[in-house]
């Protein structure tokens, strides 16, 4: 614990925390996109869309070993902690940097820094805002941008994303996430001291490739609904899903 | 008359240093060392290594330099390498041979036993540097690599690409920083020594100007070590860093220290030629290039073709033709004089006509482009950056430039000047290189002085004196401080029209013309007339903008130029009095029919030591006779 504290106090340590929490969030995104793709796999023989089943599965995963929802909530806690930590350290680091460079140049020019790298704070802020919005939209249904009913994931998506502004907004944010990750994933390797000239090319290509794959996967969902490529789902009774 | 006791140990040369340490030198015990304060002025190889070593021993050391960090001393710029007689190549090298080469290279104008000690310590320097983490070049098996360097027949030069000085200095600097962190050494950066304080004939401290605030303060000590480098910048254009100066040495000279062999200046044969009047310094191309480059000029003065298109028969490989045995590897002075000679004949190349080709075509053909490039990568890059030409495509153009000054404060075998308690080490003393320095030997000398000699010899002096028996309250400090302030104010008060820079440039031209590659009586006498005239104008027409109580680079420069003006005169005087040719000191009156330097051992086998006699009075020449017991005098001959 002592070690973690000292690590946290140092600027490299803070970066490492950004990297590790970034990695956790990145892992979440991977899982999330894999789950999302179930939108495209259709329905089971009872007419329940796979994505709805999947949503339900997440709620009960871990049963009977653990009480229902325990796993989901633990995961949510870890993610929440990660997001908070990630934001805390990057904000702290950004403040340090602002102090370290209080006067800017009259004329300034960059030789190497990519826009993605320079705009991490911006892309991150968009993501942060989006996370809140996204939860209020599809998880709690607090923000109503179409018809919403708990558990009917497919229909909720279909209803919201038929609105071009909602779909467009989501697509835009996904691109922003992609930009964040394009620098973020490679940066993580560098921060953890995993990158070196031997692997640099591979790690950079791989980071971009994986990021692209994730983002295209995410974008596919709103885009497909928007362009009317997705069939209407059958109406089914809610207890069919929960088994009650 | 100065008392010049060289304190040479009476013992066979092979074990003179050991004998001296065992029998002649007193030591200071570890408990007493912290009580002694030693000031080291300079943080180059000599100063940093000395300060670090003495700090580690426990002395209370204060170190000064005028740059913003000790790591920036001029030593950082040395490119080629450092000699050591390790004999890793099994090519017959030995302490004796390095001694022989150095003494012969110096044309027998150095003190034998000093030179032998230098050769003896050379191997320990490499060991020391490696233990600090200096990343010398290695061979495939992981052992240290060597290359050969101008004027010798063995491969004994250790190197780090073309940045040997940088790596050695970073090693010494890191050792110094270790001692600074340990609070054994206190570092004063951006401080310039402007005078020496002498009390009762002993050196007791210095007066410095804080270059940032203009504050002038005194520092007292039990001993003062000057490691302030060389004074090649008296020529304005030289390969030295812009800040190199003679001020510290010259101030010490004015306070009674003898100045030895001031006219011995090494002209380096391979530097990039000047391109115009605005030129501020000359860039050296390491001499190691001569290992693979062939030097030539067109045979025809009217040659118009591009160098590549000139066929072999129309090329004059003048060094290979004139000196078949050593060819392009003749000693520096020989190479330099021959370059000047062919250019004076009108065969020179480049826009100014003062340049010769250094051609790598043959080496590239023989060894392959990659082998040549890997050896000289950063030198080629440097050349291309400056001239816009790629040496792989077209031959380099080179010309001699002032590079190193063998002269310096006179010191005895313990590296102490004739002022008790005042030491001079590194390039700032005169000791080991005679009338000419062998390539890659200066780094060696600076580090031998700093790591191994001064830490031992200084104890002998200190142990004979009470520690800490003086403070800056002593009137001598106040007096010197006042004198320094007055000088600053006097400079500020001239209020003429010309910058210090313009005077420096003009002095440089005078020195190059009258006291340069080759010298003669008339020309030296003319120089001796021109310099005082210029100094007079300096005092009449100098313009110094700004405030002396602030960072004021014009003022710093003016102070240095003023000392150069006085010193330039001393140089010409020495060159005039030394009526022989030896090493790099080439008096046109004394040459063989083939144009070789002709030494006069009968009359001039001595060290010229000048004694300050007051403003406007001619300095007095003192002589330290040299004896040649171990290595009998022989004429230098690089022809066969």
């Amino acid at each position: 614990m002592n070690r973690i504290q000292t690590l946290y106090k140092s600027i490299i340590g803070k970066k490492v925390i950004a990297a590790v929490t970034g990695l956790i969030l990145f892992g979440f995104l991977l899982g999330h996109v894999a789950g999302n793709l179930k939108v495209f796999t259709g329905s089971n023989d009872q007419g329940i869309p796979h994505i709805d089943e999947y949503g339900q599965f997440l709620k009960v995963a871990g049963e009977p070993l653990l009480p229902a929802g325990a796993l989901l909530w633990s995961a949510r806690l870890v993610l929440l902690a990660s997001v908070i930590l990630h934001i805390t350290v990057v904000v702290q680091l950004a403040m340090l940097s602002a102090e370290a460079r209080p006067v800017s140049y009259v004329k300034s020019k960059k030789k190497a820094a990519s826009l993605a790298a320079l705009w991490m704070m911006f892309s991150g802020s968009v993501i942060a805002g989006f996370i809140v919005f996204h939860i209020l939209h599809f998880t709690t249904g607090t923000i109503q941008l179409g018809e919403f009913e708990h558990g009917y994931v497919y229909n909720n998506l279909r209803s919201s994303f038929s609105n071009p502004f909602v779909a467009g907004g989501y697509i835009f944010v996904m691109v922003v996430i992609g930009v964040h990750l394009n620098h973020g994933v490679w940066s993580m390797f560098q921060t953890l001291g995993i990158d070196n000239p031997d692997r640099n090319k591979f790690l950079r290509t791989a980071s971009t490739a994986v990021t692209m794959a994730i983002i295209l996967g995410f974008i596919a969902v709103p885009a497909s609904f928007l362009f009317g490529l997705m069939p209407e789902a059958a109406n089914y009774a809610h207890d069919l899903l929960t088994g009650h | 008359m100065l008392t010049l006791d060289p304190k040479i140990p009476v013992s066979p040369i092979e074990d003179a240093w050991t004998f001296h340490k065992n029998n002649n030198l007193r030591l200071v015990g570890p408990k007493n060392r912290p009580k002694y304060k030693v000031i080291v002025v300079g943080s180059g190889l000599a100063g940093a290594s000395a300060a670090a070593s003495m700090g580690a021993m426990g002395y209370n050391v204060e170190c000064f330099c005028f740059q913003d960090s000790p790591r920036r001393a001029h030593s950082i710029a040395a490119q080629g390498g450092i000699n050591a007689s390790k004999n890793y190549r099994n090519d017959g090298d030995s302490t004796w041979r390095l001694f022989y080469d150095t003494q012969k290279g110096g044309d027998y104008r150095a003190r034998e036993k000093n030179v032998y000690r230098l050769a003896e310590l050379s191997t320990s320097i490499i060991d020391q540097a490696v233990s600090q983490g200096v990343p010398f070049a290695r061979e495939y098996g992981g052992k240290l690599a060597n290359r050969s360097f101008g004027g010798v027949l063995v491969e004994r030069t250790f190197y780090c690409r073309g940045e040997t000085g940088q790596q050695l200095l970073l090693g010494a600097y890191s050792a110094l920083e270790e001692q600074i962190a340990a609070k054994k050494v206190k570092m004063h950066t951006r401080h310039e020594m402007l005078d020496l304080v002498v009390v009762d004939g002993r050196s007791r401290g210095i007066v410095v100007r804080n270059l940032e605030t203009g504050e002038i303060t005194s520092h007292a000590a039990d001993a003062v070590v000057l490691a302030t480098g060389g004074y090649g910048n008296v020529f304005y254009l030289s390969t030295n860093a812009k800040g190199c100066n003679v001020t510290a040495n010259f101030r010490a000279y004015r306070k009674g220290a003898g100045f030895a062999n001031p006219c011995f200046t090494q002209i380096h044969p391979t530097s990039i030629p000047a391109s115009g009047d605005y030129q501020s310094k000359l860039t050296l191309m390491s001499e190691s290039l001569r290992n693979d480059g062939r030097i030539w000029v067109p045979r025809d003065a009217d040659e118009k073709r591009a160098p590549k298109d000139i066929p072999e028969k129309d090329r004059y490989y003048y060094l290979e033709e004139r000196y078949p045995r050593f060819g392009n590897l003749v000693p520096r002075d020989v190479a330099a004089r021959n370059a000047k000679d062919v250019c004076d004949q009108g065969l020179g190349v480049g826009p100014t006509g003062y340049g010769v080709y250094l051609d790598f075509a043959a080496a590239i053909e023989e060894k392959g482009i990659d082998a040549v490039k890997s050896k000289y990568a950063n030198l080629f890059e440097m050349y291309q950056r400056i001239t816009d030409d790629d040496p792989v495509e077209t031959p380099m153009r080179i010309y001699p430039a002032v590079h190193y000054t063998m002269g310096g404060l006179w010191v005895d075998y313990n590296l102490m000047t004739n002022v008790p308690g005042l030491y001079a080490i590194g390039e700032s003393n005169f000791a080991d290189h005679g009338a000419n320095r062998l390539g890659a030997s200066s780094l060696m000398q600076c580090l031998a002085d700093g790591y191994f000699i001064i830490p031992v010899t200084i104890g002998d002096y200190l142990s004979r004196h009470e520690s800490g028996d003086i403070t800056t309250d002593h009137p001598a400090f106040k007096e010197t401080e006042t004198a320094v302030r007055e000088r600053v104010n006097k400079l500020m008060a001239v209020k003429g029209t010309r910058s210090a820079q313009s005077f420096h440039r003009e002095l440089g031209k005078i020195m190059w013309e009258h006291c340069g590659i080759s010298r003669n009586k008339e020309s030296l006498e003319e120089g001796l007339r021109k310099i005082p005239a210029l100094r007079e104008e300096f005092w009449r027409d100098l313009k110094l903008p700004g405030d002396p109580a602030e960072l004021n680079q014009s003022l710093e420069h003016a102070g240095r130029v003023l000392d150069f003006l006085d010193f330039g005169e001393l140089m010409c005087r020495d060159a005039l009095l030394r009526d022989e040719s030896c090493g790099c000191h080439f008096r046109e009156e004394h040459q063989t029919p083939e144009g070789e330097a002709e030494r006069n051992d009968e009359d001039y086998a001595f060290v010229s030591v000048f004694e300050y006699k007051g403003e406007g009075t001619e300095p007095e020449l003192n002589k330290e006779p040299l004896s040649f017991d171990a290595l009998p005098l022989a004429a230098r001959n690089y022809k066969t």
């Binding site: 070690r3 140092s10 490299i12 803070k14 680091l93 940097s97 370290a100 460079r101 209080p102 800017s104 009259v106 020019k109 190497a112 790298a117 320079l118 620098h183 560098q190 921060t191 953890l192 990158d195 070196n196 000239p197 | 670090a52 580690a56 021993m57 740059q67 913003d68 960090s69 920036r72 001393a73 710029a77 320990s124 060991d127 020391q128 490696v130 600090q132 983490g133 010398f136 290695r138 992981g142 780090c160 940045e163 940088q166 970073l170 890191s174 050792a175 920083e177 950066t189 860093a241 812009k242 800040g243 115009g276 605005y278 501020s280 950056r385 029209t497 910058s499 820079q501 903008p545 602030e550």
Partner: protein
């Protein structure tokens, strides 16, 4: 050539400073950038104005003294080149050139273009050395070093301590400099005993000097006149992590059996 200069002028640490403009018409292509500055200063001196203070010494790209941000780039537009090695042929006739000092709170401006870089020395004091005394040492060939490793160490040791990396970094980070020194020693056998302590103490000194945090922009590498690679930053990160998380703190403490 004719050029227009905009130069930062500041008379002391406490002065606010401002940009001032000058015109020069006697510039030639073969001049180095600093020779152009000399020309400007000569002109200012003769006109009775104060010349521009700037640091310089070797003028051949090794002492690390020169330090100008030229048109927004540390050491100017040519890569792997110090200010003193930059030539006017890299500028067009009629060019407008902005010259500013290194900007970082750890490098306070002393006057005009001169900054105080003593923070770098203190980082070295924190551990940028192999603890050592002068005296007899083992023969270097008794510890062979793979040439590739020696060369990589030399790549790192090539750093001239100019501070361009800090000046170039939008975060004012000194990671490139610090990592170059730590890696130089950390790669060599001589530097092993202190390797992990060195990483920790140099980084902590770097922090207390007020340098910012590295965000992997690689701007430092691009503007470093010696092309020092950010690979060394990765190395230092990794050494620092090992030092903080893995290396035993209490190697020699008591132990009991269960």
């Amino acid at each position: 050539m004719r050029i227009k200069l905009h130069v930062w002028r500041q008379s002391s640490r406490s002065d606010k400073g401002h940009m001032e403009s000058y015109e020069l018409d006697n510039v030639v292509e073969e001049m180095s950038f600093l020779e152009m500055m000399d020309t400007l200063n000569e002109k200012l001196t003769v006109e009775g104005k104060e010349p521009v203070a700037f640091d310089h010494d070797c003028r051949e790209g090794v002492c690390g003294m020169c330090s100008m941000v030229i048109n927004g780039e540390a050491h100017g537009p040519k890569s792997k080149t110090t200010t003193c090695q930059l030539y006017m042929r890299h500028f067009d006739d009629g060019a407008e050139i902005f010259i500013e000092p290194w900007r970082a709170s750890a490098f306070p401006v002393v006057r005009d273009l001169v900054v105080d870089r003593s923070a770098f020395d203190r980082i070295i004091q924190a551990g940028g050395y192999v603890s050592n005394h002068s005296g007899p040492k083992p023969d270097p060939n008794s510890i062979p070093i793979e040439p590739n490793i020696a060369e990589t160490a030399l790549d790192a040791a090539t750093c001239i301590g100019c501070g361009a990396c800090v000046a170039a970094c939008p975060n004012g980070s000194a990671m490139l400099f610090t990592s170059a020194k730590a890696s130089h020693l950390g790669l060599l056998p001589q530097g092993q005993p202190e390797r992990f302590d060195r990483a920790k103490s140099m980084v902590s000194q770097m922090e207390s000097e007020g340098f910012g945090s590295c965000r992997n922009y690689a701007e430092c590498e691009a503007q470093c006149p010696k092309g020092i690679s950010i690979a060394f930053i990765g190395r230092l990160n990794s050494d620092f992590l090992k030092a903080s998380l893995v290396e035993p703190i209490d190697r020699r403490g008591d132990m009991k059996a269960q």
